[in-house]
């Protein structure tokens, strides 16, 4: 007997896809409708995702068989705590960006409003699809839907953005091909594509070289998609030249969903036992350490604000992957297993979402791209700049912000794993974060306005962005603090601990 909520996983994907088509038709009739349809759809999806999370936490995972075909033959959508958690984050940020983009897109891409929202809905479809699916080939298809819409959205501003989008397309397609090849390897030894079925068929084959090769192919393929350090080269340009709300989505969610895909494959399809056979997670930890330091150093050298934030994303993917790498050795309660990694997925989405939206606000108001042009904006756009400061101090890791909590937990996890080098790396990176964010804050608040007449003469004494742009920015900024307090109070951690228990990372006492 299925309740209504058990149909939500497929509905979340379907209504988004349907609304993409509706937007095209409605936009053809009346150009004003697309933003409202998009916001309404994502709001409905967001409510559905919260209901799913609630259902999953109280009653256990949802299994939905598409077309009633039993797995392993049919495609299965499986939603457990991990999916539901990522789903809520992605739809929340998706909603914030959709609300924000209404005015921003009217300004940036006045002739492309209809197609922007149609592709934006396709992007949300792809993201939701990757999250809910329980079939690896289906996951590949959704990753491609998501990436293809991301390529189109990045290129939408034209000029140099086209080049950035093209680079991302070539690298992203290589990543997807590796992923597909990995699927082929697994299929050739097991004859199955369903994740749960694979997890049952694989254990006797753990010594097999094909299985190991498949795992490595998944890591490399997804590392390109999630801009993990040596493979991050597409990211800075793509983030810097995309429309701001797409930068926020790219940095806050798209690369995170690829991390989710990696966690899902590593722990659900393969398992902790398989990971312990190979030294691969130790290698991941070290690469992540290098990613953190290099990302921060490269961010320091940037003059373009969005580019700086993009390199900071590279460093933050390092944090998440470091936490994933440490997950097999950390066992003590609050920071055990995947908790720090999952925590930072949410935290990074909030912080980076906020920062990129603020960067977009500067571009919207006065076409300001470089950090040096931001002089005296603290007085002209007080709320926006305050939001920036809150998100920036979260990135630095000032208590009780979200950034502080994730850094603290990753440090505890690395202490427990007796890998003290990572403690040093985290502390150094906090220092580097302080340097490059302080530079921006200093320019906004403390530098005089001697260069006023050439750079932003158009800004009058107080000139805030429109309310529909300000609300998402302020919501994200305040959540940076609220979630930090919630994490520290430990209210939300038991939910994440269910994920650890599911993957056998901790023993429930």
């Amino acid at each position: 007997m299925q309740t209504a909520i058990e149909h939500f996983p497929v509905l979340i994907v379907a209504i988004s896809l349907f609304s993409a088509i509706t937007i095209l038709v409605a936009g053809w009739i009346n150009k004003k409708t697309p933003p409202f349809i998009s916001i309404a759809t994502i709001l409905a999806q967001f409510v559905a995702s919260i209901l799913i999370l609630n259902h999953v936490l109280t009653k256990g995972p949802i299994h939905y068989w598409l077309g009633g075909w039993k797995p392993p033959w049919g495609i299965e959508y499986v939603v457990d705590v991990l999916n539901a958690y990522v789903l809520v984050i992605l739809l929340f940020l998706g909603l914030a960006c959709a609300v924000y983009s209404k005015r921003s897109i009217e300004h940036e891409l006045p002739h492309k409003i209809v197609s922007f929202y149609a592709i934006y809905q396709l992007l949300i479809t792809g993201l939701c699809g990757v999250t809910v699916t329980g079939d690896i080939f289906n996951m590949y298809v959704f990753i491609e839907i998501m990436s293809l819409s991301a390529y189109a959205l990045i290129g939408s501003r034209g000029k140099i953005a086209l080049k950035a989008s093209f680079t991302y397309l070539v690298l992203g397609s290589i990543g997807a091909c590796f992923f597909l090849l990995g699927i082929g390897f697994l299929y050739s030894v097991t004859g199955s594509l369903n994740m749960h079925d694979l997890s049952l068929l694989l254990p006797p084959l753990y010594g097999n070289r094909i299985v190991k090769a498949a795992f490595v192919l998944f890591i490399v393929g997804l590392s390109i998609k999630m801009a993990f350090f040596p493979l991050h080269t597409w990211l800075p340009d793509a983030h810097a030249f995309a429309p701001s709300e797409i930068s926020a989505m790219l940095s806050g969610i798209i690369i995170e969903v690829c991390t989710y895909a990696f966690i899902r494959l590593a722990f659900s399809v393969f398992s902790v036992n398989f990971i312990r056979l190979l030294p691969i997670f130790d290698i991941l930890c070290w690469v992540a350490g290098i990613a953190i330091i290099m990302g921060s150093i490269l961010a320091m050298t940037q003059f373009n604000l969005k580019r700086m934030l993009a390199y900071s994303s590279v460093a933050n993917m390092g944090y998440i992957m470091l936490a994933v790498g440490l997950s097999t050795s950390a066992r003590n309660y609050p920071w055990c297993g995947l908790t720090p990694a999952l925590m930072h997925i949410l935290n990074h989405a909030l912080m980076k979402g906020c920062l990129f939206l603020v960067a977009g606000a500067f571009i919207y108001k006065a076409d300001l791209w470089d950090i040096t042009e931001l002089r005296g904006l603290g007085r002209k756009m007080p709320y926006t700049c305050a939001a920036f400061v809150i998100a920036a101090i979260s990135m630095i890791g000032v208590p009780p912000s979200v950034g502080f909590v994730s850094k603290l937990y990753i440090i505890f996890a690395s202490l427990e794993a007796k890998k003290f080098a990572f403690v040093a790396i985290l502390l150094v990176s906090s220092l580097l974060n302080l340097i490059y964010f302080w530079r921006v804050i200093e320019t906004m608040y403390m530098k005089g306005e001697e260069g006023e007449e050439h750079s932003h003469a158009s800004i009058s004494s107080k000139d805030e962005i429109p309310l529909s742009m300000l609300i998402p920015v302020l919501t994200l900024a305040s959540l940076c603090i609220v979630m930090g307090v919630l994490w520290l109070a430990g209210i939300t951690i038991p939910a994440l601990n269910k994920v650890n228990a599911m993957f056998g990372l901790v023993v429930i006492r």
């Binding site: 290129g155 034209g158 000029k159 140099i160 086209l162 093209f166 397309l169 299929y187």
Partner: protein
């Protein structure tokens, strides 16, 4: 040596062919300066993976997978249809990737008047990196 050659190369020639095709595609993507050639390289790369999948499906002496009682009773075997279906989907993905890539190239040609990567980078430097 000869045994190794027979067992590892000739007996598994389908894998070698897809590896070689993949490397050709990969080389084109890295080394070619022309954006269209890069996309051709990408297509070769994808096709190599498709061939790998299709070669997995082969059953010796297998016929088309249309099941009928008569055929089974005669002892006929079928090729595995699932990889074919997967690759049909993957081809659709590859075609849409190519379409997006080509449309990006067309837009770039309109903006810069060239499809050589080096020249595009040079021209965008002249205009300043933000290039809004």
């Amino acid at each position: 040596m000869m045994e190794w050659l027979i067992e590892e190369v000739f007996a598994k020639y389908n894998y070698w062919i897809s590896i070689i095709l993949m490397l050709i595609g990969f080389y084109a993507m890295i080394a070619k300066d022309n954006l269209i050639k890069k996309i051709i390289g990408l297509n070769i790369f994808q096709t190599a993976i498709f061939l790998f999948f299709i070669s997995l499906a082969v059953v010796k002496g297998g016929t088309a997978p249309i099941v009928s009682q008569e055929m089974i009773s005669k002892g006929h075997v079928y090729v595995n249809p699932l990889p074919h279906v997967l690759i049909l989907t993957a081809i659709v993905v590859a075609v849409s990737t190519t379409a997006v890539a080509l449309s990006l190239i067309i837009r770039m040609y309109e903006e810069y008047g060239t499809i050589q990567e080096e020249e595009i980078i040079e021209k965008s430097r002249e205009k300043g990196m933000t290039g809004v």
